[in-house]
């Protein structure tokens, strides 16, 4: 064999800055979205200073809350290299069941409303998860089918009968509009869920398993990770949070018909992707996704508030969404190139 030669290592010293720098970049992604929110906010305020009023900000937070809550579950699912397209339908049916419970059983405790919503969501989440893991079939197909089936079930249940505000206890509705120190209660609730989830996703083994599964499913299996169990759990959480979102929908709008939650799947996936969660799994954070939900909602409201004709809002929102994805990509490409050149330079030392 050969003489003892030093192996050229990519990063010479023990305390290499590469990893730290990368960690910093990951964090920078969230900072970037937060910055964008500020930019949009400032721009909208310049056009119309009412946008910065306390009430307007409250509405901004409220408007983003439901989608932000959904991004939590969706992030967990997408991180495992799956996707849950049925969330919109699950929100719809849970909202209706919660509304029905209040309507048909006056005096139902408020807390039970949440329990019912979460239970309905958890049921469908469990079904999605069970089918995906037991049959090992692509979740996109399963949850797309779920979207149709659950919507159909919801339709049979609703049968054209709207749940009216007078059926919803005032105390429950209060969650939708009351504020604490000027911050909407509903937003605080969502914030708590997001922060808890963000912390858990960083700090617990089982949560790290999710990243491992999405990063390399075969290797995860070899590493002895109970992959099917974890994927099932991700769907269960996603469904449960969609159920919770359904309950909050009732609190916020105090009326439910069959359109509740319709189209949310696109909004949520858009937010998750803009938030930097890799659509093919393995990386991304709950905070980034939730911030992106706030960003997209801020854009929507800024457009209306800037007195831009309603006919233009969709086109502009679409263009901004594309720009956001492209910008994010070109940024990460540039950073990757920079890193490579730096490492190349390091090699030459």
């Amino acid at each position: 064999m050969t003489a003892t030669l030093p192996r050229p290592t990519p990063a010479g010293s023990t305390r290499t800055p590469v990893g730290a720098r990368l960690g910093g970049l990951l964090r920078a992604r969230e900072t970037g979205i937060a910055l964008l929110i500020v930019v949009v906010f400032v721009a909208a305020t310049v056009k119309n200073d009412a946008f910065a009023s306390a009430n307007s900000i409250q509405q901004l937070l409220l408007g983003a809350s439901l989608i932000a809550l959904l991004t939590v579950g969706q992030t967990m699912v997408i991180v495992t290299r799956n996707v849950d397209l049925s969330v919109g339908s699950v929100v719809g049916i849970s909202a209706y069941v919660v509304g029905m419970t209040f309507r048909d059983h006056p005096g139902t405790p408020i807390l039970l409303g949440f329990v019912v919503g979460i239970a309905v969501g958890a049921f469908f989440g469990a079904v999605n998860g069970a089918v995906v893991t037991l049959f090992r079939v692509p979740s996109l197909v399963v949850t797309l089918a779920g979207l149709y089936v659950i919507r159909g079930l919801d339709g049979l249940l609703v049968d054209g009968v709207i749940i009216n505000p007078q059926s919803i206890p005032r105390g429950f509705q209060r969650i939708g509009f009351e504020t604490v120190l000027g911050v909407p209660v509903l937003f605080l609730l969502v914030l708590v869920v997001v922060l808890v989830a963000a912390y858990a996703m960083r700090s617990f083994r089982s949560a790290r398993d999710l990243y491992a599964i999405g990063s390399n499913p075969d290797a995860a299996e070899l590493a002895g990770i109970p992959t099917q169990k974890r994927v099932f759990t991700a769907f269960l959480v996603s469904g449960s949070l969609a159920g919770l979102t359904g309950a909050l929908f009732v609190a916020l709008f105090a009326q439910v018909d069959v359109t509740a939650g319709r189209g949310y799947e696109f909004l949520v996936v858009a937010a998750v992707v803009v938030g930097g969660v890799a659509i093919f799994g393995g990386s991304g954070t709950v905070i980034g996704a939730a911030l992106a939900a706030v960003l997209l909602n801020t854009i929507d409201q800024a457009l209306v508030s800037s007195r831009i004709s309603g006919f233009w809002t969709d086109a502009i929102a679409g263009a901004l969404l594309l720009a956001a994805i492209a910008f994010d990509r070109s940024l990460s490409l540039r950073i990757a190139r920079k890193l490579r050149t730096q490492e190349g330079a390091h090699r030459d030392v």
Binding site: V131, P138, G152, G155, V269, F311, I325
Partner: protein
């Protein structure tokens, strides 16, 4: 200690070596596996026809099939490029929005007095441009197609809404408007289905019998290896999205003719239907697997089923459930055996004695 314990001297060389086999060019059994879903689709189609004819005496009439064709025509046309896009492992969710946008372009131009031919040409150019936008972002910037096309679906429909806030009211020239609604004289075949048939034959030939078609499968299964085999992966990606834009704009033109009007909300929500039809046809969402025959069968089932169920006054909600159920079946049925085996193994595994606890390792 010189020789080893268990398998000392006797190499158990019993029987001839099993793995050296002669060169076998016979059709692989994997083909038969792949064909299985298509066979199932044929069975489902027959079943659908049976259900349809059982419920209504007027089911087996030319009109039913004309209606079925008329309703599925544009979806069918859009499904063909989508099939190829899914084959290379991408997805296009902007198809229905492009249908609306190109229809709107045509409608606006026609309304403003442009000649019909120019209006149609402009619609098709719109498709090319929109497809090129998708293609550029996905192929050359490397953005995930699901995210890009969610964005462009909002964008396309938004632009349609800007240029055509209200549905156009000027009817298209009657000679062409009838193309949208009447069958080819002497038959019960709508024009859109005739267009589809031509495109389907072309697609099938391309996908299954040309070098470029074969490379779609390679790209879908392993893009890097395809690149190393000299396949222009990026360009193929780009071209397929451009093609999808173009074909969807053609569908948009036909759709506008069929409705004798254009609207920015044309085909609202249809993207998921088109995706569902393609997946129901047995095309793998991960790319690299699927046939044109499967998608054609799937389209036929969806079209006939809708007629059968509506004629029998089955609630629209139930129809949704049936659609979802069939889609689910398309992935579950081929995997049912494996799933059953897994469940059985899991149960059997539980019955067996657990592995004994490890004795402590000899390491400190």
């Amino acid at each position: 200690m010189s020789e080893t314990a268990v398998h000392a001297e006797t190499p158990r060389d019993s029987g001839p070596a099993p793995t050296y086999e002669g060169v076998d060019t016979a059709r692989p059994p994997r083909w038969r596996l792949a064909l299985r879903w298509e066979t199932a689709l044929v069975a489902i189609l027959l079943l659908t026809l049976l259900i349809g004819s059982n419920g209504s005496a007027r089911f087996f009439t030319g009109t039913t099939f004309f209606f079925a064709g008329l309703n599925i025509g544009e979806i069918a046309i859009m499904a063909l490029p989508l099939l190829m896009i899914v084959l290379i492992g991408e997805i296009d969710l902007s198809v229905a929005a492009m249908l609306a946008l190109s229809g709107a372009v045509m409608g606006v131009l026609w309304q403003s007095g442009t000649s019909f031919g120019v209006a149609v040409a402009a619609a098709l150019v719109t498709g090319l441009v929109g497809g090129a936008l998708n293609g550029y972002l996905i192929a050359y910037l490397g953005l995930p197609s699901i995210a890009v096309t969610i964005g462009s679906l909002t964008l396309f429909r938004g632009i349609a809404q800007i240029i055509l806030p209200n549905p156009t009211t000027t009817p298209f020239p009657t000679e062409v408007a009838t193309l949208g609604v009447l069958p080819i004289p002497g038959t019960q075949v709508p024009y859109s289905i005739a267009v589809f048939t031509v495109l389907a034959v072309a697609t099938a030939t391309f996908v299954h019998a040309t070098p470029s078609g074969r490379s779609l499968y390679a790209i879908g299964l392993q893009p890097e290896a395809a690149e190393f085999a000299g396949i222009r992966v990026t360009r193929v990606r780009f071209e397929l999205f451009v093609l999808s834009g173009l074909v969807c704009s053609l569908a948009g033109v036909l759709f506008a003719l069929k409705n004798s009007s254009a609207s920015y909300s044309a085909g609202f929500g249809l993207e998921l239907t088109v995706v569902a039809v393609v997946l129901f046809g047995g095309v793998s969402i991960f790319g690299g697997r699927g046939t044109v025959a499967g998608v054609v069968l799937s389209l036929a089932i969806v079209a006939v089923l809708q007629q059968a169920l509506t004629q029998q006054q089955v609630q629209a909600e139930v129809q949704n459930i049936v659609t979802g159920g069939l889609l689910l079946a398309s992935v579950l049925v081929p995997n049912a055996a494996a799933a059953g085996r897994r469940v059985r193994t899991a149960l059997r595994g539980r019955g067996r004695p657990a592995p004994p606890p490890p004795t402590p390792a000899p390491t400190p």
